[in-house]
C-alpha cells in the first residue's frame, strides 16, 4: 500500500516527508513503544507506529530499514526529530488518534 493512502486515512500531520514519500510502499505495520521490540521485528517495508516521541524512535525506524514512522496520541515532535528524519530520509507523521485507534484504522484500509 502506498504511504499516501495511509497518510490520508490517519488524517496525518506531516512533520517531514522525503522526496516522493507519497509512493513509499508499505507492506506491514509494526506498533510498539519499546525500541527493542522494533529492532527484534523481522518484517520488510514496515510502517512503525509508536506513541514514543523521541529521537530514538526515528533511529530505531531507520535501523530496521523502515521508511516511515507514525507518532500517535497527538504528541508534538522536537526539531531534533525532524532533523534526524531528514538525515535518515524517513517520513515522520503525527496523528491525533491514540495508538489503538490508529491501528484499527490501518487495519481497515489494509484489508481493502
Amino acid at each position: 500500500m502506498k504511504l499516501i493512502r495511509i497518510a490520508e486515512a490517519l488524517e496525518t500531520r506531516i512533520a517531514y516527508g522525503p522526496a516522493a514519500w507519497e509512493q513509499i510502499n508499505i507492506k506491514s505495520i509494526f506498533s510498539s513503544d519499546l525500541m527493542s521490540d522494533i529492532l527484534m521485528s523481522d518484517l520488510d517495508n514496515m510502517l512503525i507506529v509508536t506513541s514514543l516521541s523521541t529521537e530514538q524512535s526515528i533511529r530505531s525506524t531507520g535501523m530496521v530499514n523502515s521508511e516511515a514512522v507514525v507518532i500517535t496520541n497527538n504528541k508534538a515532535v522536537t526539531d531534533g526529530m525532524v532533523v534526524l528524519a531528514e538525515e535518515l530520509e524517513i517520513a515522520l507523521f503525527c496523528v491525533k488518534f491514540p495508538t489503538y485507534e490508529t491501528c484499527v484504522r490501518l487495519g481497515r484500509i489494509m484489508k481493502t
Binding site: 502506498k2 499516501i4 493512502r5 490520508e8 522526496a19 516522493a20 507519497e22 509512493q23 513509499i24 510502499n25 513503544d33 519499546l34 525500541m35 527493542s36 521490540d37 529492532l39 527484534m40 509508536t50 514514543l52 523521541t54 529521537e55 530514538q56 524512535s57 533511529r59 530505531s60 531507520g62 535501523m63 530496521v64 530499514n65 531534533g80 538525515e87 535518515l88
Partner: protein, 310 residues
C-alpha cells in the same frame, strides 16, 4: 478511459511502461480532492483555490463530475466583472476523466494528448475518487526509479565494492547520553550502504551495533564501541569499565533488565537487546566482571555463502 462529454482513446506509452510497471492511477493520484457543487459562485471557487493553493477544482453533482473550473475560467469571469455567477456559467463542461483502475501509462498519454494540467479520476460508479496532476506522476516515477535501483543493488551481490570495504573506527559513549546514542550505528550503516552491501545484512549489523551502543549509554559508566570491517565480515566490539554484569546468563535471558523507570520511559529496558544481538550475529562473545567492566564481541559475516563453499 471514462469519457464525459467527448469521445477519445488513449494509447499507452511504450517507454514509460517499463519504469512504471503495473502502477495504477489509483495508487498515484491525490485522494483528498476538493470539489464544489453546481451553485458555487466563481468568487467562492476562487477563494477555495487560493486557500488550498490549487489551480483548478472539479464541479460535482452528487459526486459525479459535471465540469471543472480552472484559473483561466476565473480570469475570464473577472474580466467580465461577473464574479458572482455560478461556476456552471464559466466552467469547462467537456471534462476528460480517467478511471482509477487504469494503468498509469494511460494518464501519461492523456497529458500529452490534451492541453489539461489535471484530470479528475472517477471510480466504477463514475463518482469523483481523486485527481491526478503531473506532480503525482513525477513523484511516482522518482520513487519507482529509486526502488528499482535499490532492488538491483540488493540482488547483485557482485556489485559490492570490495576494494575499499575497509574501516577501523572507535566511538566513545558516555553514560546516559541518549542524545548521541545511535549516531555511531547510523554512521556505520551509511558506510555499508555506500559500499553496496545487501540491505538485509546491513540491517543485522545495524541492530547489533545499535543495541550495544544503547546498552553502553543506558547501563555502563561509559565506554567504547569499535568497528573492524573488511570484505569478509563486520566485527563490532563494546568495552566499558563498569559496573559489570553480575550474572551474564541471566542478562542474556529474554525479558531480564535492570533498566530504571527513566530508561524505560525512553523506550528501552525490555530486556531483549542482548538476545537480539546474539540472534543477528554469526559469532557472539560476552565477558563481564562485576566492578571491572564488560566486553562484548559480535561478528557478522559478509560472505557466508563463499565460506560454506570453501
Amino acid at each position: 478511459m471514462t469519457n464525459m462529454g467527448q469521445k477519445g482513446s488513449f494509447q499507452s506509452l511504450p517507454q514509460g511502461c517499463e519504469l512504471i510497471g503495473d502502477l495504477k492511477i489509483s495508487e498515484v493520484m491525490t485522494r483528498n480532492v476538493l470539489a464544489v457543487p453546481r451553485n458555487t459562485t466563481i468568487r467562492e471557487a476562487q477563494s477555495i483555490m487560493k486557500e488550498n493553493s490549487i489551480t483548478g477544482v472539479p464541479v460535482v453533482d452528487s459526486r459525479v463530475v459535471v465540469g471543472i473550473v480552472s484559473m483561466n475560467d476565473i480570469m475570464n469571469a473577472l474580466e467580465s466583472g461577473r464574479m458572482d455567477d455560478p461556476v456552471t456559467d464559466w466552467m469547462t463542461f467537456e471534462v476528460q476523466a480517467l478511471a482509477e483502475e487504469m494503468p498509469l501509462s494511460f494518464a501519461i498519454s492523456a497529458f500529452s494528448k490534451y492541453p489539461f494540467r489535471r484530470f479528475p479520476v472517477v471510480n466504477k460508479r463514475n463518482e469523483l475518487a481523486g485527481i491526478i496532476t503531473f506532480r503525482n506522476i513525477n513523484l511516482a516515477l522518482i520513487r519507482e526509479l529509486s526502488r528499482q535501483l535499490q532492488e538491483k543493488n540488493n540482488l547483485n551481490e557482485h556489485s559490492v565494492d570490495m576494494s575499499s570495504l575497509e574501516l577501523v573506527k572507535e566511538y566513545l559513549l558516555s553514560r546516559y547520553d541518549f542524545e548521541n546514542g545511535g549516531k555511531a550505528s547510523s554512521e556505520i550503516k551509511k558506510f555499508l550502504k555506500g559500499h553496496g552491501i545487501p540491505s538485509r545484512l546491513i540491517r543485522r549489523v545495524a541492530i547489533a551495533s545499535y543495541e550495544l551502543e544503547i546498552n553502553l549509554v543506558a547501563h555502563s559508566d561509559g565506554g567504547m564501541l569499535g568497528f573492524d570491517i573488511n570484505a569478509d565480515r563486520v566485527v563490532i566490539t563494546s568495552h566499558d569499565h563498569g559496573p559489570g554484569i553480575a550474572d551474564v546468563d541471566q542478562a542474556l535471558t529474554e525479558g531480564f533488565s535492570t533498566a530504571n523507570e527513566w530508561i524505560r520511559s525512553l523506550g528501552f529496558g525490555a530486556g531483549i537487546g542482548l538476545p537480539n544481538i546474539k540472534r543477528v550475529s554469526d559469532e557472539f562473545i560476552i565477558q563481564s566482571t562485576l566492578g571491572l567492566g564488560t566486553m562484548i564481541r559480535a561478528v557478522i559475516n559478509i560472505h557466508t555463502k563463499d565460506q560454506h563453499n570453501n
